[in-house]
C-alpha cells in the first residue's frame, strides 16, 4: 500500500508536467484552431535553452526555467508568424495549419539534433534542487513538489486570464469568429500572437520541468510529452481548462501505475487505449462543448 501511495505521488508529479503541456497545447488548438504537432519540440527546445543557460551562463536554475519558457514563447511567435499567420485569412480549416506545423516540427526536431547531437544530456548535479521531504513514510522530492505547484499556478493563472480579463475574452472570441471580433475593434493579430506566445511558453516550461525532473534531455524527448499531452487534452475535452488538469493528472497516474503494476512495455499501449476508448465513449471529451450547426 505504501508503494501505491508513493507511486501516486510520483504519478501526480509526472501528471503535473503533462498538465502544463496540455494547457498550452489545448490553448492554441481551441482558440486558433491549430493542431500544432511542433509543441512537443517546443518542450524539447525549452529544456535545451535552459540547459545551455545553466551550463554555459551559470544562471540560477529558476532563472534558466523562466528565460527558457519566455524564449520558447518567442519561438512560438516566430513560428506563428511564419507558418500560421499567412493561413489565417484563408478559411482552410484544420488541414493547412496542421501540415504547416508538421513542417515546423521537422525543422525544429532536426535542428535540435544538430545542436545537441544524439546523446543524452542532463543538468549538472548541483543545479537541480534535490531536497526530499518525508511525510508518513513517503518521499516527496522537491522537483515533484515544484511540478505540482507550477501546474496549479499555471492552471489558476490561465483560468483567471481567460475568464476574468478583457484579453481572455478576446482570446475566447477569436476562437469563435475572428472577423466579428475584428469588427468589434480588437486587434486580432495581437491576440493571435499572444495566444501563440502563451501556448509555446507553456510547452517550453513543461519541457524544462520534465528535463529537471527526469534529468534526461535528448533531441526528441518532447515527442512523448506531445503524445501524452494530446491524449490528456482529448480526454479532458479540447478548450476546457479543467479537462486539461484532470486529463493531465489522470494520464500521469495511468502511466506510473501501469509501469508499476503491468509492465513498462505496455504503459504506452494503455495510455493510447484509454485515449481511443475515451474518444469512442465520449467523442468530445469529458468537458467538451457541443455546438449546433446552422443551415
Amino acid at each position: 500500500m505504501e508503494l501505491f501511495f508513493q507511486q501516486t505521488i510520483n504519478g501526480l508529479g509526472q501528471g503535473a508536467i503533462i498538465v502544463v503541456f496540455a494547457i498550452g497545447f489545448s490553448f492554441i488548438f481551441s482558440n486558433l484552431g491549430i493542431l500544432n504537432v511542433a509543441q512537443g519540440t517546443f518542450a524539447t527546445w525549452g529544456a535545451i535553452v535552459a540547459y545551455y543557460l545553466c551550463v554555459d551562463a551559470h544562471l540560477p536554475i529558476w532563472l534558466c526555467a523562466v528565460v527558457g519558457a519566455l524564449a520558447i514563447g518567442a519561438l512560438g511567435v516566430a513560428v506563428d508568424i511564419i507558418c500560421f499567420a499567412p493561413l489565417r485569412h484563408r478559411s482552410t480549416g484544420l488541414f493547412a495549419p496542421l501540415i504547416s506545423s508538421i513542417g515546423a516540427w521537422i525543422v525544429l526536431l532536426n535542428v535540435a539534433q544538430i545542436v545537441i547531437g544524439a546523446n543524452t544530456n542532463g543538468f549538472p548535479s548541483g543545479a537541480v534542487p534535490k531536497l526530499v521531504i518525508h511525510v508518513f513514510g513517503l518521499y516527496i522530492t522537491s522537483m515533484v513538489a515544484i511540478d505540482v505547484a507550477v501546474a496549479i499556478v499555471v492552471a489558476v493563472v490561465m483560468g483567471l486570464l481567460l475568464n476574468r480579463t478583457r484579453f481572455g475574452a478576446s482570446v475566447r472570441a477569436i476562437g469563435l469568429d475572428e472577423r466579428t471580433i475584428a469588427i468589434a475593434g480588437i486587434n486580432t493579430r495581437v491576440v493571435a500572437l499572444s495566444t501563440a506566445f502563451l501556448a509555446a511558453a507553456m510547452s517550453g516550461l513543461a519541457g524544462v520541468l520534465s528535463g529537471l525532473t527526469d534529468n534526461v534531455i535528448t533531441y526528441n524527448f518532447g515527442e512523448s510529452l506531445l503524445i501524452v499531452g494530446f491524449a490528456a487534452v482529448v480526454v479532458g475535452g479540447v478548450g476546457s481548462l479543467g479537462g486539461c488538469v484532470l486529463g493531465g493528472f489522470a494520464f500521469g497516474l495511468i502511466q506510473v501505475y501501469s509501469e508499476q503494476y503491468v509492465s513498462s512495455a505496455f504503459s504506452d499501449a494503455i495510455t493510447y487505449s484509454v485515449l481511443l476508448l475515451a474518444l469512442i465513449v465520449r467523442p468530445r471529451g469529458l468537458f467538451g462543448r457541443t455546438l449546433e450547426a446552422r443551415a
Partner: protein, 600 residues
C-alpha cells in the same frame, strides 16, 4: 546519386505514392485520417509472415494484403467516422501509436522491436502495376457519381445530405478504399525494405504521406502521386548539397513554403503553365453538339421540365425518371403537427401545425426571426424537432436524417447559398441527381458501359436544367464564382436534378431584380403545373401574392394566418406583425409601397 540509388529511390517513391493515395481517398470525402498507416502495417507484416515460409505466390499475398487492409479500415470506420473531423484526426494518430505498441509487443508474430525480415520479391513489375491500378481506380472514382458526391461531402456535408447523399456512407466507402490501397502499399514497402519493424509504420510515414498529398495538391489524386515523388526524391537530391539533418530541415521548409505560397499544391502550379484542365468534364463529354440539338427541339417549350424525361427517351438515352419510384399518396404533400424547436430559451418554431396541399405553390411569409428557415430545416431533416411530427408525402419523417427525407422526393435550396467550392456549374447540377443514379463505385472502376451511359444522361439532363432555370453562364464555370442571381439558379437546378416531388425554396429571389423575380415566378408556375409541390419562403410579397396559390404567415414561431395569399396579407394580425401598430392610413400606405403599385 548512383544509378542503383536512383532505382531504389524511385521504387520507394512509387510505394510512397501509393501510400499518399491511400490518405487521399478518405480526404477526398473530407475525412482527414492517417489510419491507412495501420492498414499498411497489416499488409506489411502479412507479407513478412507469409512470404518467406509459405511459398504462396506474391500476387495472392498482395491481394490478401489489400483485402485485410480494406477490411480493417471498414471495421474501424464504424468507430472513427462517428467522430468530428478534429477528433477523428486525433483518433487516427492514436491508432498509429496503438498499432506501434501492439507490433512492439506481439513479438512472436512481428519480431518485436528487432523486427522481421521480409522477402524482397515484389520488384519493378509489381510496383508499376500496383501504381497504375491505383491511379486508374482513383481516376475512375473521381469521374463517378461517388466521386462527385465525395466532393460535395468534403465541401459541405449538409448540402450533400440535402441532395440525398448519406455523407457517412460515402466517407465509409472511401475510407475502405484507402485501407485497401494502404494494405497493398504496406506489403510493397515491406518487400522493398526487405525488413519490417515497429517504426516502419509509425508517425513519420503518416506525416510523410500527408505532406506528400498536400505538396502535390490535396484536391487531386494526381497531386498525391506527384507530391510523393517530389517529396521522396527531393531529399536525395538535396543530400548532395546539405549535410545530414539539414536535408530534412530543407524538407520541412519546403512543406511550409508550399502550404503558404501554393495552397493548391504543385498541381495548381502546373496550371500556371497551362496544363490541360484536370477536371472531370472531359469524361462527361461529348454532349455538346448533341445538347445543342436537344435545345433546338425544346426551344418551343423553354421552361418545360424533363418530368418523366420524355425528351431523354426520345434521344435513345436511358430514362432517369424510371428510377424515381414515388410513393402514391392521398392528401397533403407536407404536413406538420405541433412542430416545436427550441434553441436555448428561444422557441424558434412553436407548436406549428399546417398542411401543404399537393401541387400548390405555398408561400411562407413572416418578419425576420419568425422561424421560417428553422421550419424548412425541420421539414428537410437538417434539424430534429424537439416536439411534434413532420409528414412528407404521407410518410412520417420525424427525426429522419436529411438524406432520407431527400430520397423521399424533397429537395431544397438555402438562404445563404451553399454551392460546393471547386465544382463547375454542370457538376454541381449533376450532383443533385446522385440519389437517382444506380451505378456503383465498382462499376465506375471497371468502366462498365452502363455507368458511362448513366453519367452522360445525367450530364445532358443537367445541361437541359440549365436552360430550364435560365442559366446563361458556361457550364464549366466554377459555380461558386458566379453572380448571386446565377448562383441561386444553379441551386434550383441542382434541386430539380433530383426530380423532387416537393421543392423547398428559401428566399430564392434574394439578389434578383424585378424582372428576374418575375421569371422565377413563371418557372415556379410551370414546375407546379408538372405536379411539383413548392414551398417558398419569401420577403417579396409581390411574388407571393402573384404566384402562390396558398400562403401561411409565421410570427415568433407560430402561425398567425393561412389561406389565399391576399387574404393572409389583408389580415390585421399579419400587418401588425410586419408593421407594428399604426394608423390605418399609414398601414395602407406601407402596403401600397410594398406591393409597389406606384401611386395609382
Amino acid at each position: 546519386m548512383s544509378l542503383s540509388a536512383w532505382e531504389s529511390n524511385v521504387q520507394l517513391a512509387i510505394v510512397y505514392a501509393i501510400f499518399a493515395l491511400s490518405l487521399y481517398a478518405p480526404l477526398s470525402a473530407g475525412v482527414l485520417s492517417v489510419a491507412s498507416v495501420s492498414s499498411g502495417a497489416l499488409g506489411g507484416f502479412l507479407l513478412a509472415v507469409m512470404m518467406p515460409a509459405s511459398g504462396v505466390a506474391s500476387i495472392y499475398t498482395l491481394l490478401l494484403a489489400a483485402l485485410i487492409g480494406g477490411a480493417a479500415a471498414f471495421i474501424m470506420s464504424f468507430v472513427l467516422l462517428r467522430l468530428d473531423s478534429h477528433y477523428l484526426a486525433f483518433a487516427t494518430i492514436a491508432l498509429i501509436l496503438v498499432t506501434y505498441v501492439v507490433v512492439l509487443n506481439a513479438s512472436s508474430v512481428t519480431g518485436g522491436a528487432v523486427g522481421r525480415v521480409a522477402a524482397g520479391t515484389l520488384g519493378w513489375a509489381y510496383l508499376c502495376v500496383a501504381l497504375v491500378v491505383c491511379c486508374w481506380t482513383f481516376a475512375r472514382i473521381r469521374l463517378s457519381r461517388t466521386g462527385l458526391a465525395a466532393t460535395v461531402v468534403r465541401a459541405d456535408p449538409l448540402v450533400a445530405s440535402g441532395i440525398g447523399i448519406n455523407p457517412r456512407h460515402i466517407q465509409r466507402a472511401l475510407f475502405t478504399v484507402g485501407g485497401t490501397v494502404a494494405g497493398v502499399a504496406g506489403a510493397l514497402l515491406a518487400s522493398l525494405l526487405e525488413y519490417v519493424d515497429p517504426t516502419t509504420f509509425y508517425t513519420p510515414l503518416a506525416f510523410t504521406s500527408l505532406a506528400a498529398v498536400v505538396l502535390g495538391g490535396a484536391y487531386y489524386w494526381q497531386g498525391a502521386v506527384i507530391g510523393a515523388f517530389v517529396f521522396t526524391l527531393l531529399p536525395y537530391l538535396l543530400q548532395e548539397y546539405f549535410s545530414a539533418n539539414l536535408d530534412q530541415v530543407a524538407d520541412g521548409v519546403v512543406i511550409i513554403a508550399i502550404v503558404i505560397f501554393f495552397p493548391g499544391g504543385l498541381i495548381e502550379m502546373g496550371k500556371w503553365i497551362r496544363l490541360p484542365e484536370l477536371g472531370r468534364l472531359a469524361a462527361v463529354g461529348p454532349g455538346r453538339p448533341a445538347a445543342g440539338q436537344v435545345l433546338d427541339t425544346e426551344k418551343a417549350q423553354p421552361t418545360s421540365l424533363p418530368a418523366g424525361t420524355a425528351g431523354t427517351v426520345q434521344r435513345g438515352r436511358p430514362d432517369l425518371a424510371q428510377y424515381t419510384a414515388r410513393k402514391e399518396h392521398d392528401g397533403a404533400a407536407l404536413e406538420v403537427r405541433s412542430l416545436t424547436k427550441i434553441f436555448g430559451g428561444l422557441r424558434a418554431v412553436d407548436g406549428l401545425s399546417l398542411a401543404v396541399p399537393t401541387g400548390s405553390i405555398f408561400g411562407v411569409l413572416g418578419p425576420n426571426g419568425a422561424g421560417k428557415t428553422t421550419f424548412i430545416n425541420l421539414l428537410s431533416g437538417v434539424l430534429p424537432p424537439d416536439e411534434g411530427a413532420t409528414i412528407v408525402l404521407g410518410q412520417e419523417t420525424t427525426g429522419w436524417p436529411a438524406y432520407r427525407v431527400a430520397r423521399l422526393g424533397l429537395a431544397r435550396t438555402y438562404q445563404n447559398i451553399r454551392l460546393s467550392q471547386g465544382l463547375s456549374v454542370l457538376e454541381t447540377i449533376m450532383s443533385g441527381s446522385y440519389s437517382r443514379q444506380r451505378s456503383t463505385m465498382a462499376a465506375a472502376v471497371a468502366a462498365l458501359p452502363g455507368e458511362r451511359r448513366e453519367r452522360r444522361a445525367c450530364a445532358d439532363e443537367a445541361r437541359h436544367l440549365m436552360e430550364v432555370v435560365g442559366m446563361s453562364a458556361a457550364e464549366d464555370r466554377r459555380a461558386a464564382t458566379l453572380a448571386y442571381g446565377e448562383q441561386r439558379r444553379v441551386e434550383i437546378a441542382r434541386a430539380l436534378a433530383s426530380h423532387p416531388a416537393i421543392l423547398l425554396l428559401d428566399e430564392p429571389t434574394a439578389g434578383m431584380n424585378a424582372q428576374e423575380s418575375a421569371q422565377l415566378g413563371e418557372l415556379l408556375r410551370s414546375l407546379s403545373g408538372q405536379g411539383i409541390t413548392i414551398v417558398l419562403i419569401e420577403h417579396n410579397i409581390r411574388l407571393v401574392s402573384e404566384f402562390c396559390t396558398h400562403a401561411a404567415v409565421m410570427h415568433s414561431g407560430s402561425l398567425i394566418a393561412t389561406g389565399r395569399p391576399d387574404d393572409c396579407l389583408a389580415q390585421e394580425e399579419v400587418q401588425l406583425a410586419y408593421f407594428g401598430r399604426r394608423s390605418d392610413a399609414e398601414r395602407l400606405e406601407s402596403l401600397r409601397i410594398l406591393r409597389s403599385d406606384p401611386g395609382d
